[in-house]
């Protein structure tokens, strides 16, 4: 039971990162759009699906609360102020989709809200992961870091890194969904974003070595983990090739693969810790009766349905976004 819920949690988190990752990334890039036409195309590429994407964040949250309540309580209360910023960002960008469409003179307000909110939420997510990787100050199972215990150069670095990462994912989504100038612009951005991400990874690696983070030791102990970075490198090569040949489909999947490889590397290198290195999966798990009730209903039957709904949604809105001039 515990393993099942760890697996569903991991799948949900990964889906969140990949799916909301690209629409947050489109939000981050939204500030670079030159004109109203480009902004509309960019929004249309994510409007019908962003709500479903963001729901994976809620899924992650409630699986944590139901199946691993201690982790939910500890992480969320420790990251109090960052989460406030993230939620504000998600609120502002979320309402911007509808509000922008309804606004007349104040459209620029929602443009800023969409781009700024996306950027803030992305940065906080990266920073939170950085803080957790570095190790939150936890004593006897209780967070003991104060209002700013999560703040560190490493965490900030991870925040910037995720902004680059989501922006790259977003750019690849735009390549996949759009045509003409938006696609061309996204193509031009991909090399810079990829390069930025590469620099970030090198710096993080160096920092982790220099600071002798505990997670580094675990990587060295488990050389088989190197398969995941290897998958990432292969995906990066295919990405470069398909961008060079201007093939619209593959880049998104390659960046998604890079993200998945990074995610797997992190997750497996912390096993069996949920909050490294203080709370393990077994420490955090809810009683068997909770996990079993979740398993026999939502786990076995509803979870596959959720994936089907999401698939239906993506199938209905497959293909390129086009500008229609039928009415004008």
């Amino acid at each position: 039971m515990i393993t099942f819920w760890v697996a569903v949690l991991a799948i949900s988190m990964l889906l969140y990162v990949l799916l909301d990752g690209f629409d947050l990334g489109v939000g981050v890039l939204f500030g670079l759009a030159r004109n109203e036409m480009q902004r509309r195309v960019m929004l249309s590429a994510v409007s019908p699906i962003w709500d479903g994407n963001e729901t994976w964040l809620v899924v992650t949250g409630v699986i944590l609360w139901g199946a691993f309540p201690v982790v939910y309580a500890t992480l969320l209360s420790a990251l109090y102020l960052p989460l406030l910023v993230m939620l504000s960002g998600l609120i502002l960008r979320g309402v911007a989709f509808e509000f922008r469409h309804r606004a007349e003179r104040t459209r620029w307000v929602w443009d800023i809200a969409f781009a700024g909110g996306s950027l803030a939420a992305t940065f906080i997510q990266g920073m939170a992961v950085g803080a957790i990787v570095e190790g939150l100050p936890v004593q006897n199972g209780v967070y003991a870091g104060g209002d700013f215990g999560w703040l560190s150069p490493f965490a900030v670095l991870c925040g910037i890194g995720l902004c680059l990462g989501y922006a790259l994912l977003g750019a690849c989504w735009l390549v996949k969904k759009c045509e003409a100038d938006v696609r061309d612009k996204a193509y031009r951005l991909i090399p810079y974003l990829s390069l930025g991400l590469l620099v970030f990874l090198i710096v993080v690696f160096g920092y982790a070595l220099a600071e002798d983070l505990r997670v580094m030791g675990r990587w060295l102990e488990r050389p088989y983990l190197l398969i995941f970075p290897a998958i990432g490198i292969i995906a990066a090569i295919v990405l470069a090739a398909s961008v060079r040949r201007r093939r619209d489909g593959p880049p998104f999947y390659m960046v998604a693969l890079i993200f998945a490889a990074a995610f797997a590397t992190l997750a497996i290198s912390f096993w069996p810790y949920m909050i490294p290195f203080s709370i393990t999966i077994d420490d955090a798990a809810a009683p068997h009766s909770s996990l079993a009730f979740m398993f026999w209903g939502e786990g076995l039957f509803v979870f596959p349905l959720m994936l089907i709904y999401a698939a239906v949604n993506y199938t209905v809105f497959r293909g390129k976004v086009r500008t229609s001039t039928e009415h004008y």
């Binding site: 195309v41 509000f99 909770s290 976004v321 229609s324």
Partner: protein, 470 residues
């Protein structure tokens, strides 16, 4: 434990949940009504139903968005501000919320996208199906929230393990008798909200002499639905009162403003409860009615607040007044729904401008009733977060600082005021503009490449419409 951080957290929770509940109450009813309209349009082929559908869909879009973003905050707040509570009740309440997310949110989110943008891409039956799925999702969501909250009101089916609650009997939790009176009470409230908003809009257009066909549909359907639902709601309200009487006697005494045991008990209609003197001032009450309402008897003894230690009593004024406001709104709605429906049948409603104005101004009533109903339920539960088990003061995050709690409360107030101001402005504009625009038909060709469902009013700045195509 820092008292100030506790108080700020309570204020923040009260503020964010009150803000949030406004939108689901509106969209639960609206989603069901959109489904009915779409089904009517498909069966009758009357274009007016489509016009009304498209019009309310735009409003639904804005309100649903506000509900979604303010709902995400709720999912996090249990962990940020109430981490002691979260880790103790997670095995029960976290599981129930996960059921809400799994069964409801994905239905809503996936099919909501199709509702807003999918008309040109899917066949009509599938569009109707999507509308029904969104409505079903909002209803599931309400169900799980009511199961969750009912467990906090009357905890059942639990055991205590290592200082945390563990589920002992899930059937006892799900089939808690309280759930099955409170869930219909909330659902009816949501349908009434939709009904009154729709009827009020119809009344407004008739007063302005515009959109006659659409306005009559809105007025007729809204008022008739309300005429049936309000009495049903009053009945369920009474049944909810029965559970409070039996399971939460101290809350019941606070609502009734009854300080001392009485036999037979009188019913306080209105008064000014004085908590320091433990008595009511300026009280108007009716003898024996209190026993009749509480126990359906002319002679029963009804308990008073002074039977309970002071530290176990809720604040009296808030549940006392909130309850009376809720009931007052209910009675006003009953009058408007019945009189309005009567005038509608008699075909006099179009000439009765006073009645139309009254119906137009009635749209806040269901919202006020829902908010005050929840104030009664939640403030009346104090000082407990899980009734009789876990005190609110023990639920707060132990290391939360006053500084952090102050910042978050201010930020939420600022952000919510901002989006609320613009949200209501946009909804007002949509309502003022009314059901206008060109209808877009579902795809007939294999390659759908049509603009989005309804073209905006020409008064709004026109920009080329976008749609996805292959």
């Amino acid at each position: 434990m820092d008292l100030t951080a506790l108080l700020l957290s309570r204020l923040q929770f009260a503020f964010t949940i009150s803000f949030h509940i406004i939108f689901p109450s509106f969209t639960i009813g609206l989603a069901a009504w959109l489904t009915v309209l779409e089904a009517l349009h498909l069966t009758t082929g009357r274009p007016a139903y489509r016009m009304v559908f498209e019009f309310w869909l735009k409003i639904f879009g804005v309100a649903f968005g506000l509900g979604v973003v303010s709902g995400v905050v709720m999912g996090f707040q249990f962990g940020t501000n109430w981490s002691s509570f979260a880790s103790k009740v997670g095995p029960i309440q976290g599981v129930l919320l996960s059921y809400e997310t799994f069964t409801a949110f994905f239905l809503e989110a996936s099919f909501f996208g199709i509702l807003l943008f999918g008309r040109p891409r899917v066949p009509p039956w599938f569009y109707l199906f999507s509308t029904a799925m969104v409505a079903l999702g909002t209803t599931f969501s309400a169900f799980w929230i009511m199961v969750n909250n009912s467990w906090m009101q009357v905890p059942t089916g639990y055991t205590v393990e290592k200082g945390a609650y563990a589920p002992g009997d899930w059937l006892a939790i799900l089939f808690n008798h309280v759930v099955w009176v409170r869930f219909p009470h909330m659902l009816l409230a949501a349908y009434l909200t939709g009904a009154f908003c729709v009827a009020a809009t119809g009344a407004w257009y008739l007063l302005r002499g515009e959109f006659h066909a659409e306005a009559r549909i809105m007025l007729r359907m809204g008022l008739f639905l309300a005429a049936v639902l309000v009495p049903t709601q009053l009945f369920f309200g009474h049944v909810v009162g029965d559970y409070v009487h039996d399971d939460q006697p101290v809350k019941f005494a606070a609502i009734e403003g009854r300080w001392r045991d009485e036999q037979p008990a009188s019913e306080v209609l209105i008064a000014w409860p004085d908590e320091t003197a433990q008595t009511n001032r300026y009280s108007i009450s009716i003898p024996i009615l209190g026993s009749l309402i509480g126990s359906m008897s002319f002679t029963s003894k009804e308990v008073g607040l002074t039977d309970f230690p002071v530290q176990d009593r809720p604040p009296v004024a808030i549940p006392f007044f909130a309850f009376r406001v809720m009931v007052g709104c209910g009675l006003l709605m009953l009058f408007l729904a019945w009189y309005g429906s009567y005038a509608n049948v008699k075909e006099t409603i179009g000439r009765n401008r006073l009645l139309l104005w009254a119906i137009f101004f009635s749209f806040p009533l269901p919202f006020i009733a829902i908010l005050t109903g929840w104030f009664t339920a939640e403030v009346g539960r104090q000082p407990w977060v899980v009734y009789g088990m876990l005190r609110t003061a023990q639920a707060v995050t132990p290391f939360l600082t006053t500084r952090a709690a102050t910042i978050s409360l201010l930020v939420f107030c600022a952000v919510y005021s901002f989006i609320f101001a613009f949200g209501t402005l946009y909804i007002y504009r949509l309502l003022r503009t009314g059901p206008v625009g060109t209808l877009i038909e579902p795809p007939t060709a294999a390659v759908p490449n049509r603009p989005m469902s309804v073209v905006d009013h020409p008064a709004t700045p026109a920009a080329p419409h976008l749609t996805a195509g292959r």
